[in-house]
Amino acid sequence: MLTALLIMTGIAIVLGAALGYASIRFKVEGDPLVEKIDAILPQTQCGQCGYPGCKPYAQAISNGEADINQCPPGGEEGIRKLADLLGREFKPLSEEHGTEKPKSVARIDEQVCIGCTLCIQACPVDAIVGAAKQMHTVVAPLCTGCELCVAPCPVDCISMVPIAETVETWKWKYPVHELRSAA
């Protein structure tokens, strides 16, 4: 009886020590799930999900505060990937957060711009250059198309222009033709 108790206690102590050591030795910095979710999000930093950027939204999903269908730029594909990662059911994009749009970039009408710098302050990725009372312009390759600069502009000189297909970005189409039902 006593031997059995001693053996069990001994095993418990040894395993406890091993686990305790492992939890210190192999401690994971940060939350790996947040990183994984963040990697799926499109990094538009548009805030349409209701959080100030993609990382906070990833954090919110990880904490269970936000749903996975609040990211319009990520679109259906993004939701599918999140559903796969988190083992949840796919659900269509929530309408209150916006709709999926073709990828576009902001363009400033330089004739109308008054140089107020409001758009520069609004841009989450510092993709607008300019100075007070000087003309501003968008660095198109850096623009994520978040539309955050459109609202602050007092003279409405910023428009969103869809990105045109070029020889570099052109892709071969999917060879499978979906059959249409004879309506």
Partner: protein
């Protein structure tokens, strides 16, 4: 000398259809009415335009400067006037537009002054820059800049000149070798010198006996280390890796290049262009192109770059039942999207297709897992696996099965009993993977910039706070120095509050220092009256007592 040949795995033997166009000599195409010269001569780089509309240019004049490491120069193909610089469709499967220079020829076809380059008086780098300036790119189809391919000029033992021309219908390299063998070999010798190779092997498929004879005759006077080798006719023997395998026995593994094994490969057309560029100083302004298929006069034509296909086709006379055109061969070529597409450096053949010659593909049937594609694949891949993964959009898995080693030769689709357009699936998957790669890069960049912006804003806030604190400390020090009472809020942590408190204290002191003038020099009566009033007020509002002056 070559003693034995090797073989590559797989391959197919499609009907060659070479005789249609190989019988007649290369004809010079007449001067077109209009030249459209795209500033992008390959998919990799777009040149910077150097001319303006209205400007007169001579044949061979430099009109576009190559940008970046893969850029090459673009030249006017004939003398004339630049009419406009506008987007125009280019020879690409997408049919998309690219910025092009439109030249109206003046009919004189007058050359700009050009001088040959003496290879022995210049350094190797200068010679490569010369080739770049002459706009020399690979003429087998890919359009990769030759000066880049010549690379460091070290560690190359064997130079392979690719005259295999394995695709059916195409005969432009065949005619070039038959008629201009000395020029091609002269170019090969220049390439050999530039790359530092010991031996030159010219590989020609054995279905071109005339070309082999002409090349062997021309090579006989050039020494032992150059040999013209007939290789068995088996598609795709003209693939770079396949030809290197056949001639040298070197099997280039995945992710490696011929240069890693001391072998480099150039097309015969490229060798000819290099010869023109070095021996005459002529930039690349024309090429030989095969017009064949459903046409009245199939043959090979020497065409100025920028000639529109519609004008070119008039030479060959397409028959009435032609329904589409194929650029390149039937195995790897793509359908021509528009007849206004100009001839580019990598365009080797235009095939007029009719339903009789190229019947529409029969309906695609399910894969029966027969494995015929795997036996035919010259790249040692498993095409059926790649097909399933591409079709299911499982791109990660497709990459695991080495999708990017696929050379899109079309052997698998050729042998497929279910007539599945396999290559279309691979092209689709490759395009999607590249697009994802680009998106990933863009999102990584956006994340980095967003995080830096947050960091910057935080830093600016801190800097502002530090500045404020420093100012507050300064003010306090000044106050202490002037011997006045320390500000009541001196101990408070918030520098802003401290500043406000200090300012308030200062104002109070100033106020205290200024005494109202109407209280100076009052008579005793008035003072007594004031005291009286104050006493009354105190009685009425005791809480005001402390506020009274």
């Amino acid at each position: 000398m070559i003693t034995r040949l090797f073989s590559f795995k797989g391959g197919v033997k499609p009907e060659s259809h070479k005789n249609e166009s190989s019988g007649t000599p290369i004809q010079k195409a007449p001067l077109p009415k209009r030249l459209v010269i795209p500033l992008r001569q390959s998919i990799r780089s777009t040149a910077r335009c150097l001319v303006a509309p209205g400007q007169r240019v001579l044949k061979g004049e430099h009109i576009g400067e190559g940008e970046g490491g893969l850029g090459t120069s673009v030249h006017a193909s004939t003398s004339g006037t630049v009419v406009e610089i506008a987007p125009s469709p280019m020879a690409h499967a997408s049919g998309l537009e690219t910025l092009s220079i439109v030249i109206e020829p003046d009919g004189e076809d007058r050359w700009i002054d050009h001088t040959p380059l003496d290879l022995h008086s210049v350094s190797r780098e200068e010679a490569l820059a010369w080739l770049r300036g002459c706009g020399i790119v690979g003429m087998g189809g890919a359009g990769f800049p030759t000066h880049v391919k010549l690379g460091g000029g070290r560690g190359i033992d064997t130079l392979v000149i690719n005259g295999a021309e394995c695709e059916p219908w195409i005969t432009c390299d065949d005619r070039l070798m038959r008629e201009r063998a000395p020029e091609v070999l002269s170019g090969a010798m220049i390439l050999r010198e530039l790359i530092g190779a010991k031996q030159v092997l010219v590989g020609i498929e054995d279905n071109k006996p005339e070309a082999i004879a002409a090349m062997q005759a021309a090579a006989s006077g050039l020494g032992d280390d150059i040999s013209v080798v007939p290789v068995p006719t088996l598609y795709p023997a003209g693939g770079e890796k396949q030809l290197i395998r056949v001639l040298t026995g070197v099997e280039i593994p995945q992710g490696k290049l011929g240069t890693d094994f001391g072998v480099q490969c150039f097309n015969v057309g490229t060798a000819n262009a290099v010869h023109r560029a070095i021996r005459f100083g002529e930039p690349l302004v024309s090429r030989v192109i095969t017009l064949t298929g459903n046409v009245a006069r199939p043959g090979n034509y020497e065409v100025l770059l920028g000639t529109q296909v519609s004008e070119l086709l008039d030479l060959a006379g397409p028959k009435a039942d032609t329904d589409r055109y194929i650029v390149g061969g039937p195995m790897m070529g793509t359908e021509l999207q528009s007849l206004s597409v100009p001839v580019s450096k990598g365009m080797n053949c235009i095939i007029a297709a009719s339903p009789a010659l190229f019947p529409p593909p029969p309906p695609e049937l399910p894969c029966i897992r027969c494995g015929a594609c795997a036996r035919a694949c010259p790249a040692d891949l498993q095409p059926f696996e790649l097909y399933w993964f591409s079709r299911a959009k499982n791109f990660g898995k497709a990459q695991e099965y080495h999708l990017f080693d696929c050379i899109e030769c079309g052997c698998c689709a050729f042998v497929c009993p279910s007539r599945i357009p396999l290559v279309d699936y691979y092209r689709f998957a490759k395009g999607e993977i590249w697009a994802r790669e680009r998106e990933l890069q863009a999102s990584d960049q956006a994340r980095e910039r967003f995080e830096f912006r947050n960091f910057r804003q935080e830093r600016e806030k801190e800097e502002k706070a530090a500045k404020l604190a420093a100012k507050a400390a300064e003010t306090r020090a000044k106050l202490a120095e002037s011997g006045e009472a320390a500000a009541p809020a001196a101990e408070t942590e918030d520098p802003k509050k401290a500043l406000v408190a200090a300012a308030l204290a200062r104002a109070k002191q100033q106020q205290a220092a200024v005494t109202p003038k109407n209280t100076d020099g009052l008579t005793a009566d008035v003072q007594a009256e004031i005291a009286n009033i104050e006493a009354r007020r105190e009685k009425l509002n005791p809480q005001d007592a402390d506020k009274a002056p």
